[in-house]
């Protein structure tokens, strides 16, 4: 196990060392590259003056707000469409024609309707998050063991009770998986919106660093965005395993 970890570390480590030596030896003046040590230094400086923390807060706040809004809409629709088959069939054309619109295409509409700032970003993230959660929770509700539904009928549960006591608990592992995937999408969309146009958050920070010709700071932002993406994914994966056991991961589509 330890030797596997060691092997995994060899490639990035040697790349970093080569880059460092090369950058130091030719004393590069590039707009795109900087020695790794300078990047780490810039990252610490950005932490020191708090700029990267504020940017992280803005990005994560918009991403999670969008995930919450989009997730709630997607979950509601997904459960409703999963339970009532006729409704699902009636909405099919509408959903299939809205779904392929790339979320980023809504950016100009959100821009003139809401202006720059959190609200516009949250709307776009929410639009992007609705679809995976809708599709996966609909599939999750449909794949519930039919006997559970029969039990709920035999117990004469009210429709509200049937949803909250039978359907949601039974579909929960797959709904959580949907949320995990959507959280990754939310972060990606939030950063993309900021890079494209919105002057807040990490995406704007990295664009400003690029325009200020500070490759060290730009790569520090890139490193930090990568770390956040990795930590979010790893954290949610661990939570999923902890909450639902390894079985929840078994049927995962890759």
């Amino acid at each position: 196990m330890r030797s596997e970890r060691l092997k995994a570390a060899i490639l990035p480590m040697s790349l970093l060392i080569v880059l460092e030596i090369w950058a130091r030896s030719v004393d590069i003046h590039s707009d795109a590259l900087a020695p790794p040590s300078a990047v780490v230094l810039a990252l610490f400086q950005a932490f020191g003056d708090g700029s990267i923390l504020a940017a992280t807060r803005d990005t994560l706040a918009s991403a999670f707000a969008g995930l919450a809004v989009g997730g709630a809409i997607g979950l509601f629709l997904g459960i409703a469409l999963g339970i009532f088959q006729p409704l699902d069939r009636l909405m099919e054309v509408t959903i299939e024609s809205l779904r392929p619109i790339p979320s980023i295409a809504l950016l100009p509409i959100a821009l003139i309707a809401l202006g720059f700032g959190y609200r516009m970003e949250i709307v776009i993230v929410a639009f992007a998050c609705v679809w995976p959660i809708l599709i996966l929770s609909r599939a999750a509700v449909r794949s519930i063991e039919p006997r559970l539904i029969e039990v709920s009928r035999a117990l004469r549960l009210s429709p509200g009770d049937r949803i909250s006591k039978i359907i949601i608990p039974a579909a929960l592992p797959r709904i959580f998986l949907a949320f995990r995937l959507a959280a990754g999408i939310a972060l990606i969309v939030a950063v993309t919106v900021e890079i494209a146009i919105n002057p807040i958050g990490l995406g704007a920070g990295i664009m400003i660093a690029q325009q200020a010709l500070r490759p060290d700071l730009m790569l520090a932002y890139l490193l930090w965005i990568g770390l956040i993406g990795y930590a979010l994914n790893a954290g949610l994966l661990a939570a999923q395993q902890h909450l639902f056991g390894p079985a929840a991961l078994a049927g995962e589509v890759r």
Binding site: L90, S97, P100, P102, M218, G229
Partner: protein
Amino acid sequence: MNWTLTLWRLASFAVAAGLIALWQLIANLKLASPVFLPGPDRAWAALMRGFSNGTLLEKTIGTLEHMFYGWLVASVVGIALGAMIGSSRAMRSYVAPSLEFLRPLPVSAIIPVAIALFGLTQGMALFVIAFGAIWPMLLATVHGFGAVEPRLYEVARSLHMSRLAVIFKIALPSASPDIISGMRLSLTVSLILAVVCEILAGLDGLGHWVLLSARAFRSPDLFAGVILLGAIGYVTALAMSLVEQRLLRWRTSGH
């Protein structure tokens, strides 16, 4: 059975038409400002006008070109690299963890680096789209090669097949479902990145068009552009799933 299906489909179209009528009603009653919500009639008129004088067609082709070239480069490089990494156990244990580490990186964060390297050019867009679209295919190929039934490799060894023959005759066909689903995912990614690059670099395409329309408050043109982008997403996904069905027919046709 077929009858009821057609009826449901018709009803579903009727619901969509009803929603468009509702949109028209909202626009007519000016419940939302016409500055950012044109009625479907005006959006449709803008779409038709744009096609009749050729501008929208030109922009659509521009976006499709950006998307397609980036995706093509990513497919070729991604599958080749994936085959190289996936077909050797040593490469898998040395390189695959680094790839897994890079996977959750929001790919659009590479855009500033690409701008610093290439400037606001077509080359920048090509690099960004290819870089973004490569991950699903690369990882799917590595994973697909790793998941090949081990006995097939044993057969190959006893037949003294060369490494290239193993890749083309055994590993690639058996990894193809993974690879094709990766290619489909990449198509979506490349459309999104094409739009972002056009917005940022002002390259000729629908992304630039919708941004300009928004800046000039020409909302019907803006909606026409968004509708076209949705259509591109829909048509490319449809084409990909048709290709998938055709290429993977051997899997379902019982062997």
